[in-house]
Symmetry: C2
Subunit: 648 residues, 2 copies
């Protein structure tokens, strides 16, 4: 039935809402009352009688034991089982109990129930939360199951709980931070991709920072309890602003809501404000949680619709791409097409060129002095157009050289110049800027050779080569650029990298539209390059040590790698970039870059994360190396550029 249609084209899983039920042998009627007449999309239901204990059965009849299943698999069609039922594993199981018999019963039951659920082609099973703070034997058993599991997802139920710092230390054995429990469990199970989290959202919420961590984890469901709901003026259930914000945030990360608990709001005879109940079931009894479902649907529908840019980028979310190698490879027409659509970028360039032209030639000289502007890496011409528009806007005379190494782009460039009638102003040079013998020196050198991490497409090396034909007092646009990184939780990206099962993919940086991640600390600058560069040390090698502090109310967190960004100063106050605190609005040419860690690093609350980044240069290539030195030293990644490099 779904919660409704969100603005835009978001077809995420979070449209579907489930309900947690008690054990019922009669699954068809359970489905009918919760789905058809209840309005829910699926039930989270126990598959086995909660009174069953293997040790009791074994003692009475050790042979021919039929499991106490809910009837047979035939009571529902295979598609009903797989679309509408999430199996709820018996919540009494406790695999880390001190009681041997209970532990054995738990293991047998868990394996039997998962086997039964697999037989039914159920898509997911909800595993009960570990009892207490210990989970090694539970994790060992689940890990064994995961090794042979076909497609089923296992959702480990984890209460969304983190005690404040003040209350810590009192009961060391008690659960201070449920994230720690999840972290232990998934480390023991090696980040298995079929193991994810079902968060129990309770009436009391931990700090915003500590909740933020979960956005980088594999959370599939949020189980919202009826006692989370407040009562509005009309007696209807509603959620606090903080709860609303969390639910909306989870919707945005494709998390499904499951309602749980007894109804605590009763409106005798009143009809629901946004009723979708079909006429033919109107006479049946209203579902006891219908008011809560309606409210969740209302939250879903009132979310901001996706912007055009978000819709375009939807398919790229958390999808790893190899960065471009524009120096070694020639870009394809499709790539130029995409980038040229980014009008914001060219508006910024035009603004920068305007300012440079005005600085270069005063009003009195406007009609006599011709500024020589060279676009190095002209591609199919968008920066040439921006330069000519800037000249027109400022009334300055311009002579343009458009230098481009890709002969395919030069073809288009020629046709553009002819079409626009720029033949007298624009000279096209089909040459690599690093070896071009320019006939004269330039006043202004315009380039756009930036990658997601600023210098990663070798802008420094290219512009060092082009600097020969810039006048001593000439201007480079951009005049500088800086890369930034920040530590992130990104279990989805980590698993995608890991799935390649080799070292190379763990030592490669990826371009990626980051979405299901948690940013653990503000980004910090890494490498800066300034142009033109007349310093005595012309080396483009760099080394930077960074120290990140994770806010103490976050708790411990897992660092799967680093998100990288750049910010470029085109000219004076005109900048361009994707650094999250000051991104250029509505610009879509660059996604972030992701530097993975071969082993995720767990950072404890209050202990700093020390990170090292190197930019190394060899005769034929440039590469990055990176490592963590504290709290635990990692290996140095990508030594000698063995896995990932950019060719010169």
């Amino acid at each position: 039935m779904a919660l409704g249609e969100r603005g835009g084209w978001d077809k995420s899983e979070s449209r579907y809402c489930g309900v947690e039920t008690e054990y019922d042998e009669d699954v068809p009627s359970l489905l009918s009352s919760n789905l058809n007449s209840g309005g829910f999309d699926f039930v989270v239901a126990p598959l086995m009688d909660p009174n069953y204990r293997p040790s009791l059965v074994e003692e009475t009849s050790s042979e021919s034991r039929a499991l106490p299943f809910a009837g047979s698999d035939l009571i529902l069609s295979p598609s009903q089982w797989s679309s509408h039922v999430v199996g709820k594993i018996s919540s009494w199981i406790d695999l880390d109990s001190e009681d041997d018999t209970l532990r054995r019963d738990s293991e047998i039951t868990l394996k039997q129930e998962i086997a039964w659920a697999t037989h039914l082609s159920i898509q997911a099973c909800l595993l009960p939360s570990p009892k207490g703070t210990r989970c090694a034997n539970y994790a060992r058993c689940v890990n064994q199951i995961l090794q042979g599991l076909s497609n089923m997802q296992l959702w480990l139920r984890i209460p969304l709980v983190k005690a404040d710092d003040e209350s810590m230390g009192e009961n060391l054995d008690d659960l201070n931070d449920s994230w720690e429990l999840w972290n232990s469990f998934r480390l023991l199970c090696e980040h298995h991709s079929q193991l994810s989290v079902a968060l129990d959202v309770l009436s009391t919420l931990p700090s915003v920072n500590s909740i933020g961590r979960w956005l980088g984890e594999s959370v599939r469901a949020a189980i919202v309890h009826t006692d989370c709901f407040l009562t509005n003026a009309k007696g209807y259930p509603c959620l606090s602003r903080r709860h609303q914000k969390i639910i909306t945030g989870l919707f945005n990360h494709s998390v499904q809501v499951v309602l749980s608990g007894k109804p605590l709001h009763h409106l005798p005879g009143a009809s629901s404000p946004v009723s979708h109940v079909d006429n033919n079931v109107n006479d049946m009894q209203r579902h006891p949680l219908r008011l809560y479902l309606d409210y969740v649907g209302y939250l879903y529908q009132k979310m901001e619709p996706l912007s055009e840019q978000e819709r375009v980028e939807l398919g790229y979310r958390d999808f790893l791409q190899a960065p471009l190698q524009p120096l070694m490879d020639n870009l394809e027409a499709q790539t130029y097409e995409t980038f040229e659509k980014d009008s914001v970028k060219y508006i910024q360039y035009q603004r920068a060129i305007c300012k440079a032209l005005l600085d270069r030639v005063c009003d009195e000289d406007a009609s006599t002095i011709t500024t020589v502007l060279m676009v190095v890496g002209a591609g199919r011409g968008p920066l040439v157009r921006a330069a000519l528009q800037a000249a027109e806007e400022t009334g300055r005379k311009l002579k343009v050289y458009a230098v481009e190494k890709n002969p395919n782009a030069v073809v288009t460039l020629h046709s553009l110049v002819k079409l626009e009638g720029w033949e007298n102003i624009v000279s096209i040079v089909s040459c690599d800027m690093r070896c071009w013998n320019a006939p004269e020196e330039a006043d202004i050198l315009v380039s756009e050779l930036l990658g997601s991490f600023g210098d990663n497409e070798l802008s420094p090396e290219c512009l060092d080569g082009a600097q020969r034909f810039l006048k001593q007092d000439g201007i480079s646009i951009p005049s500088s650029y800086t890369s930034f990184i920040q530590p992130i939780t990104a279990s989805k990206l980590y698993n995608d990298v890991k799935s390649h099962k080799d070292l190379v993919h763990f030592e490669t940086a990826y371009v990626v539209k980051l979405h299901n991640i948690a940013k653990l600390s503000p980004s910090q600058p890494v490498f800066t390059f300034t142009h033109p560069n007349y310093s005595s040390n012309k080396s483009n090698q760099r080394y930077k040590k960074l120290l990140f502090e994770i806010p103490s109310d976050t708790g411990s967190a897992m660092v799967h790698g680093f998100a990288g960004y750049f910010d470029a100063t085109l000219y004076k106050d005109v900048h361009l970039g994707i650094e999250p605190s000051m991104p250029t609005p509505n610009m879509f040419s660059w996604f972030a870059i992701f530097f993975p860690l071969r082993q995720p690093v767990c950072v404890r609350a209050g202990s700093p994360l020390e990170v090292h980044f190197w930019r190394c240069c060899g005769p034929t290539k440039v590469w990055y190396e990176w490592c963590v030195s504290s709290p635990t030293p990692s290996p140095i990644h990508n030594s000698n550029g063995r896995s990932y490099w950019v060719g010169l």
Copy 2:
């Protein structure tokens, strides 16, 4: 020239003693004065003028720069370079300096010197100790070098320093524990097998426990400074008892001594007490460190000679072997041969059988009652012999069934019985004990099915099968056995496992004669099996959680895995085992077992190590799973026995 010949056949590297020298352009005379007339085996000498700085050279002449090497490679023969010179990298280098120029100079110099040493086929280079506590950039540079290094070893110089707990916290930036520095460096370099340690032994020594850690690390040299030496009554240099013990311990671990520093003891005209100086160099000047060398030689020679058992085991030290699968595979004659030589083992069995016979039959009944004893897994007969000798010793009448599943061993068994004339007492049964239909019940069941980890050769499963034909009040020898583990530092074993570059080898237990390891905490019991077993729960599955505390004066330490042992109670007070606190003396049938960790776990001083071991049983196999849950959860190793198992 070597320090001398140690008793036994120890041909370890530690026989050779080196001397640290200043830079000398004239390498031939440097060698001559230190080796031929000096008595040393090799020099640790700088390869490059210590005044050289790349940045100074570059500024004066950027072209055709000849490196300021000590003459040419021709001044020594290739074999002289490789046998007698360890390259000492310029000690001024500081790759983690805040000074950019110094950092760049250091990197260039380090790479040039290593390249030159490689050109000379030098076997090892001594890297200067990191300055201060930071080493990430140094490690990055060394790691780059290691990736392309042929056979050369790099010895990182590390002072043997660890401040006491009391003085800690005062200067947090100072070096409290040099092991931490080494640990960071080698983690950044991924435990590279060509990176090892040269320990600077100083006059002040840290605690015994903290020094013990180094025995599990890759230590190649101990640089002993002259100011470590005391003066004896006759004015000669000597070492304190603690220093002596450390040097002897290092000798035992194939560490080479290098003497360093100015002579501080002068005996005008006196000749050395144990002079080996050839006559033809007697007239040359005595080497200034000759007295120190003689003392080190004296320490070497006065070491206890190797026992016969040690000599036999020398070739097996730290050599990983796959455990036997005696149930699935039939043992070979060679294996029986080796085990049968272990007389101590059979003496213990005989003692146990004696006690059991006396308990079973009182003196009055000795001539009338015949005890039925079954040897299950009789092999080629050593336990049969032990049983018959016990009967003779106690004057008890015996009837023996020798049950053996290996038909090849049965052949030998038949010939033994014939040869010894045991036909009337011993019945040979060629059958697997788990399916034998015994003609009568046994009073005593004798078996030796134990592996290094006790139950790992499936003694429990075999004896469960044999228990059918044991009388209700019958005796099993052994009556119980327990496995033990303890955490160890074992970088050599870790690297050997890692060299296979697959998961399987990291999830396998190995039989190994442990030598170059550090035991970090006393061993603890894991699984116990008792026979006969009449309990209602007959499962041989086991789960054990263990908590290890590492002594606080050890400091932090690296756990590469767990050493495993067993102790068996044969009967009453007669036991047999290899647990280090109570091993059966002079028994050599079992080496320890080693359970590796996929990622070594660093345990901080004072924080406990929590470990979990499982014994899992399936229809066709038995296997172990293991993991660490604290301080950092590891993956669960060997899930479902995917990598390592013992076939039933």
